[in-house]
Amino acid sequence: MSAQPYGLIATFKTAPALYHAAEAVRDAGYRHWDCITPFPVHGLDKAMGLRRSIVPRISLVGGITGFCTGMSLIWWTGAVDYKLIVGGKPLFSPMFAFPVSYELTILFTAFATIIGMFVLNGLPMHYHPVLKYDQIRRGMDDTFFIVIEARDPRFNAANTRALLEQAGGEAITELEP
């Protein structure tokens, strides 16, 4: 085992216990840490002090890109590259470019949302140190965990362990990297 562990993991029996422990860890100023729960706990993001995701902004950028792509695609093909009068219509009009732009807005928004979510979550992730913890499977069943990573500037093996103990954490264990 290397000198520096990945972090500390603490076990909690109930959602309220985890919720209040998360508030304690948040107030202690930690930034690189996470909760592992078998189901979504409403309000936990607030207890962890998480800000709203920036995925919506990435989606908006994707949508605007898609709209502009659609408009310029129809404009360039119809009015620049291969001028052809169809049905007595002008070479370019936002009217008939709109259905294409609209579709591309949706498509690019969807791409941006999915890709943004994957990138921000660090997905795909094939390995994570908590997977080595022998009790981790219970995090999909009936147990709640808090993991504080050693790379957090406030991390200190003794103090962090004391904080987790004080917050009601049980079976506090060091995780291998």
Binding site: H42, G43, R52, P56, L60, G87, G88, K89, M95, F96, F98, P99
Partner: protein
């Protein structure tokens, strides 16, 4: 989580604070609006005032139909979060019988005073472009089975009768459940919703066709009912937000509404903004692309005069309808912060309600033409009669809502979903 349900409604056992003064104020405004509109008969003539009144009545009918739809949709999906605001929509449904009454003058005047007053196809001897009469117009004769006096009267009665019938079923079941707590009423309302949704869809579509689209009976658009539906729901959601913020600021809704209720209704407003735009653009785009004179004349009337000069309606179409009805609400409602801040959400709700009125004006008022066949402009004395009509009909509707407000609990306290709704996403 549902343990909150037992404690939160403690404040609700008391009856809601009295709305009687507000109700009488609304009634005064309504009657004043009606009297002023009637005075318009002597100033601008019956035709202008009748069209303005049609705008006023269809505007509030659209909002009431939207509320009916939201209650029906709530029940058919067994929805939970909207339980706490459903009661306000049920109070709003009290307006239908008055709306029916307020529609009556249009029919009476059309048949007893002047058949050519509003709907041109009621007068078969009316001369139309080209020298012949409506009665000899092949485009009328093809539609005569639908567009005739008996059908107009029968259908209008059928619209209001179905809306009043559905409303009274929904209201009675919901209010009685407050007393006896029987789950049977929830099932009763679900049955009403299953029967009522197709009825509501058909009646609102035909109402839009008979009352509004047939003002230009040569014209046709299969999107018209859907366009009206989108406005109905947008109007009801926006009015719902105004009620929510009003009751929130008055204190009634403290401890009942949370951020997520505002977020949810804001998301629905955004969705229906996109839906409205999709439908309205489709209608315009298909007509633009096909470029067939029997369809394009409807938009030409709203863009240019006979001499080719742009008229007011063109700018209303671009800035009012395209930007005001879509782009502004769309970008506004994209923001999470705007959706969850009550007084900011109310701002866009008021905006949308104003623009729905403009949209109805855009669809109804150009039926009034000058001697060249050009649409009369909106910014004129005519606008005054539209506003007095909206205040007149609106005052009566708000009065009906406030009068009903005092007769039942603030929220359906014994609805099986009330606990979930009180702790929406908490």
């Amino acid at each position: 989580m549902s343990s909150h349900a037992a404690s939160a409604p403690a404040a609700l056992s008391a009856a809601p604070a009295s709305t009687a003064p507000a109700a009488s104020k609304a009634l005064t405004f309504g009657l004043a609006g009606i009297v002023l509109t009637a005075l318009g008969l002597f100033v601008s003539g019956a035709k202008v005032v009748a069209h303005s009144w049609l705008v006023g009545v269809t505007y509030w009918t659209a909002i009431a139909v939207g509320m009916l739809l939201l209650v029906l949709i709530h029940h058919i999906f067994d929805a939970s979060w909207s339980t706490v605001i459903r009661r306000q929509f049920e109070h709003g449904l009290a307006a239908f019988k008055w709306l029916g009454l307020l529609f009556l003058p249009l029919l009476l005047a059309s048949f007893l005073y002047d058949r050519d007053l509003i709907w041109p196809w009621l007068d078969l001897n009316r001369e139309i472009h080209g020298g012949h009469t409506v009665g000899h117009d092949p485009l009328y004769l093809k539609k005569a089975a639908f567009l005739n006096p008996g059908m107009l009267i029968g259908m209008t009665i059928a619209f209001f009768a179905s809306w009043i019938w559905l409303s009274s079923r929904l209201r009675r079941a919901s209010f009685t459940q407050d007393q006896d707590g029987s789950l049977g009423w929830t099932r009763h309302n679900r049955v009403t919703a299953a029967i009522g949704l197709p009825i509501a869809a058909l009646t609102l579509t035909f109402a839009a066709i008979y009352w509004i689209k047939s003002l230009e009976y040569h014209w046709f658009s299969t999107m018209y009912g859907v366009w009206f539906f989108a406005n109905c729901v947008r109007g009801a959601l926006s009015f719902g937000v105004i009620i929510m913020v009003w009751l929130w600021q008055r204190g009634d809704y403290r401890g009942i509404l949370n951020t997520n209720h505002f977020h949810s209704i804001g998301m629905l407003m955004l969705a229906f903004t996109v839906f409205w735009a999709y439908v309205t653009f489709s209608q315009y785009f298909l007509i633009w692309n096909a470029n067939v004179p029997e369809e394009t004349f409807w938009y030409n009337l709203r863009e240019i005069n006979h001499d080719g000069a742009s008229n007011q309606w063109k700018w209303i179409g671009i800035f009012g309808i395209l930007f005001g009805h879509f782009f502004i609400p769309f970008f506004f409602l994209l923001s999470y912060r705007f959706k969850v801040t009550p007084h900011i959400l109310r701002r866009i709700a008021i905006w949308i309600l104003a623009i729905i009125l403009l949209d109805l004006c855009y669809n109804i008022m150009p039926a009034l033409k000058d001697s060249h066949g050009d649409a009369l402009p909106l910014l004129s004395l005519n606008l005054l009669w539209i506003l007095t009509s909206v205040v007149g009909v609106g005052g009566i509707c708000v009065w009906a809502y406030l009068r009903s407000f005092g007769t039942a609990k603030l929220i359906p306290i014994r609805d099986p979903r009330i606990g979930e709704s009180l702790t929406h996403h908490e």
